[in-house]
C-alpha cells in the first residue's frame, strides 16, 4: 500500500521538476529571511536566481552542524517565533545542542511523511502502535506519534524506559507494531525472554526501527527474537526528525527518501564534490518545503549511497542504503575513499571471525598500505584446527576486500580478545602515515 500514491510514484521527470521549483522557492526564501544564508551565499558568489536546474544545487555552499551550533538557538529560523508551534533539540554530546523549529504546516508535513512510513511498513488504521521512541525534545516520540494518528492507527505513547512495564503492555495491550531504536527493541526482546515471556508469540508483526545505525545481523536477531518484520527508518532532527526515509516491505533494499520534500546528494566528504549515483559518500540534504527551519545542503556526516532504479513496491523515490558509518571516519588509501564500516560489512559476511577488527594504515615509500587485523573465532578453528583453513580465511578476506572496495590489503589474523574493546564508539583505525 502507498499512502500518497500521487507523490510517492511520480515519474522521475515530474518529481525532479517539482524539486527544482521548490528548491528555487526555498533558496529565495532563506536568502531573504536568514542572515546566515545571505552571508554564506554571498561568500560563495551565488545568487538565488542562479539556481535554474537541480545540478545548480552544487553551486550552493554547505551547511554544517557547526553552523547550527553557531546560530544557537533560533538564528537559523526563517519565520518569526509567532509562527513556530514547536521546537525540538538534538542532544549535544559535545558542546551545545542544536535547536529546530516547526510551523503548523511543518508539523502537518511531518505527520504525513510519518504516515507514509507506516503504510510503507504495511500498517493501516487497524494497527496498534507501541511507540517506544522517547517523547520530549527528541524528535522520535512525537514524530512517530503524529504520524500514527494521521494514519488513524491507535498509538500507545509509552516512550522510552521502564522496560518491565513495556513488556507487560506488549502482552496486555496487544500492539501489532513497535517503534523503537533497534538496540532497545533487542533489549526488550531479551528482557522479555528473561522474564519468561514468550516474546515470539506476541501480536507484534512489524518493527519500525531507527534513530541509530544498525546491521543486517542485528535485524535478523530482532526478527528472530520478536517474530516480526523489522524495517529501517531514517531521519534526523535537523532535517525534520524520523520519516525522512523509510524502507519498504516489498524490497527491503534501501530506504525511500521523500524527495518531494527533501533533495538528497552524496558527496565526497574530503573534496565536497557531488558523487555520481551509486557511489558511497556523505549524505547531504536540502529541505524544499520546510518553513520554520529550512536547510540548504546540510552535511549529515552519515555515510550512504543513492540508487534511483525503480523499486518493486512501485515507488519512484530514490533509495538510500542503510547508514553504514560516519564520514569523519573516512580514510583515503591510494586515492580510494574507504569507510571502516565498509570493511566491517565485508568481515561480517565471512563466517568464523569475530566482529572485532583494527585497520592499520601506513605508508611504504610512496605507497599506502592497509593491514586488517581480525580476531580468529572459535568456530572456524575448532572444527579442524588446521593451518590451511586459516590461510584460506585470510585469503578470502583479502579477496573480498579487493572485490568490494577495490583496494589491496594484508590480513593479519590475531588471537581472540587481543584487539582492544571499546566502551561506546569504537576506534578502529590507526593511521601511521605522516604527510
Amino acid at each position: 500500500m502507498i499512502y500518497n500514491e500521487e507523490f510517492e510514484t511520480l515519474p522521475r521527470e515530474a518529481l525532479e521538476a517539482l524539486q527544482v521549483k521548490r528548491l528555487q522557492q526555498v533558496v529565495q526564501r532563506v536568502y531573504h529571511t536568514v542572515g546566515f544564508y545571505k552571508r554564506s551565499f554571498d561568500n560563495a558568489g551565488v545568487k538565488p536566481d542562479d539556481i535554474k536546474t537541480l545540478d545548480d544545487l552544487r553551486r550552493l555552499p554547505f551547511t554544517t552542524k557547526q553552523d547550527l551550533r553557531d546560530n544557537y538557538p533560533y538564528g537559523l529560523f526563517a519565520v518569526p517565533m509567532s509562527s513556530v508551534v514547536r521546537v525540538h533539540a538534538s542532544s549535544g554530546t559535545t558542546g551545545r545542542s542544536t535547536v529546530v523549529g516547526y510551523t503548523k504546516r511543518d508539523i502537518d508535513t511531518w505527520s504525513e511523511l510519518m504516515a507514509r512510513c507506516f503504510v510503507m511498513a504495511g500498517l493501516t488504521k487497524n494497527d496498534i502502535i507501541h511507540n517506544a521512541y522517547g517523547y520530549g525534545l527528541f524528535t522520535g516520540g512525537l514524530g512517530a506519534h503524529y504520524g500514527a494518528e494521521r494514519l488513524g492507527a491507535s498509538v500507545i505513547p509509552i516512550s522510552g524506559g521502564n522496560t518491565k512495564r513495556q513488556i507487560m503492555i506488549l502482552q496486555d495491550f496487544a500492539p501489532t507494531a513497535i517503534c523503537a531504536t533497534p538496540s532497545y527493541a533487542l533489549y526488550l526482546a531479551e528482557q522479555g525472554e528473561e522474564m519468561g515471556v514468550d516474546m515470539r508469540s506476541l501480536k507484534l508483526r512489524v518493527g519500525v526501527l531507527g534513530a541509530e545505525p544498525w546491521s543486517e545481523k542485528m535485524r535478523r536477531q530482532i526478527e528472530d527474537k520478536l517474530n516480526i518484520t523489522a524495517l529501517d527508518i531514517y531521519g534526523l532532527s535537523e532535517v525534520m526528525g524520523p520519516g525522512v526515509a523509510m524502507e519498504c516491505t516489498e524490497a527491503r533494499q534501501g530506504l525511500h527518501i521523500f524527495e518531494d520534500h527533501f533533495i538528497a546528494e552524496i558527496i565526497d566528504p574530503e573534496t565536497g564534490e557531488t558523487l555520481p549515483e551509486g557511489e558511497t559518500g556523505e549524505l547531504v540534504f536540502t529541505t524544499v518545503t520546510k518553513e520554520a527551519f529550512p536547510l540548504v545542503r546540510y552535511r549529515t556526516r552519515d555515510v550512504s549511497r543513492l540508487v534511483k532504479a525503480p523499486c518493486r513496491c512501485g515507488r519512484t523515490l530514490v533509495r538510500m542504503d542503510r547508514i553504514t558509518g560516519r564520514s569523519d571516519d573516512m580514510l583515503i588509501i591510494r586515492g580510494v575513499n574507504v569507510y571502516p564500516s565498509q570493511i566491517e560489512g565485508v568481515l561480517l559476511n565471512v563466517p568464523g571471525i569475530e566482529p572485532h577488527y583494527m585497520l592499520i594504515v601506513d605508508r611504504e615509500g610512496t605507497l599506502d598500505t592497509l593491514e586488517v587485523q581480525v580476531e580468529v573465532g572459535e568456530t572456524v578453528f575448532a572444527e579442524t584446527g588446521e593451518v590451511k583453513v586459516l590461510q584460506e580465511l585470510s585469503r578470502r578476506i583479502t579477496k573480498d576486500i579487493k572485490d568490494y572496495l577495490g583496494i589491496s590489503s594484508k590480513v593479519k589474523l590475531v588471537e581472540p580478545k587481543t584487539i582492544q574493546r571499546f566502551e561506546g564508539k569504537a576506534k578502529r583505525v590507526i593511521d601511521r602515515r605522516t604527510i
Partner: protein
C-alpha cells in the same frame, strides 16, 4: 576408533606466545606428549598431544586461546632403515595423502611413534592395519 585427538592452538608470531602455552599447561599439571609448530609468515599453529585432552582444552580456552581439535593417527614405526618408508609406500598405493607428520618424544620398545594427519583418516587406519602396521589407540598414546 584408533584415532588420537590432537589439540591445535592458534598463535600470533610474537615473542612469548609459545612460552605462555607451556606455562599454562605446566601450571595445570598437563604433560605434553608430542608437539609440532606449524609456521606461516603471519601466524603459527601449535599442535599438541597431551595426557589429558579435555582438561588441556578447558585450561587453554580459559586463558584466552583459540583451540581446535583434529583427529590424527599414531603409528608404530620400526626403528630401522626404511621403517618409515614402508608405511608411506603402503599409503601411497592407496592414494592417501599425508598432510603433515611429526615424531613422538617417547619410544615404544623398539619402535618410534609417528603422528600422522591424513586427508582420509578412517581409510588410512584401515589400510595401515591391513598392511600389518600398528596403529595406537588414543588412550594408549595419552598415557605413554
Amino acid at each position: 576408533m584408533n584415532k588420537v585427538e590432537q589439540i591445535s592452538i592458534f598463535l600470533e608470531n610474537k615473542p612469548g606466545g609459545l612460552e605462555f602455552v607451556t606455562r599454562v599447561l605446566k601450571d595445570a599439571g598437563i604433560n605434553i606428549r608430542a608437539l609440532s609448530l606449524a609456521d606461516t609468515s603471519d601466524f603459527g599453529v601449535l599442535r599438541l598431544i597431551v595426557n589429558d585432552v579435555e582438561k588441556a582444552k578447558r585450561i587453554l580456552k580459559e586463558n584466552g586461546f583459540t583451540v581446535g581439535r583434529t583427529s590424527v593417527v599414531a603409528v608404530l614405526v620400526p626403528d630401522r632403515p626404511g621403517g618409515l618408508h614402508g608405511i608411506l609406500e603402503s599409503l601411497s598405493k592407496e592414494k592417501i595423502n599425508v598432510e603433515y607428520m611429526y615424531a613422538f618424544v617417547e619410544r615404544s620398545g623398539e619402535h618410534a611413534i609417528i603422528i600422522f594427519r591424513f586427508d582420509a583418516t578412517d581409510r588410512a587406519i584401515d589400510s595401515l592395519t591391513k598392511s600389518g602396521f600398528t596403529v595406537l589407540p588414543g588412550e594408549k598414546v595419552y598415557s605413554l
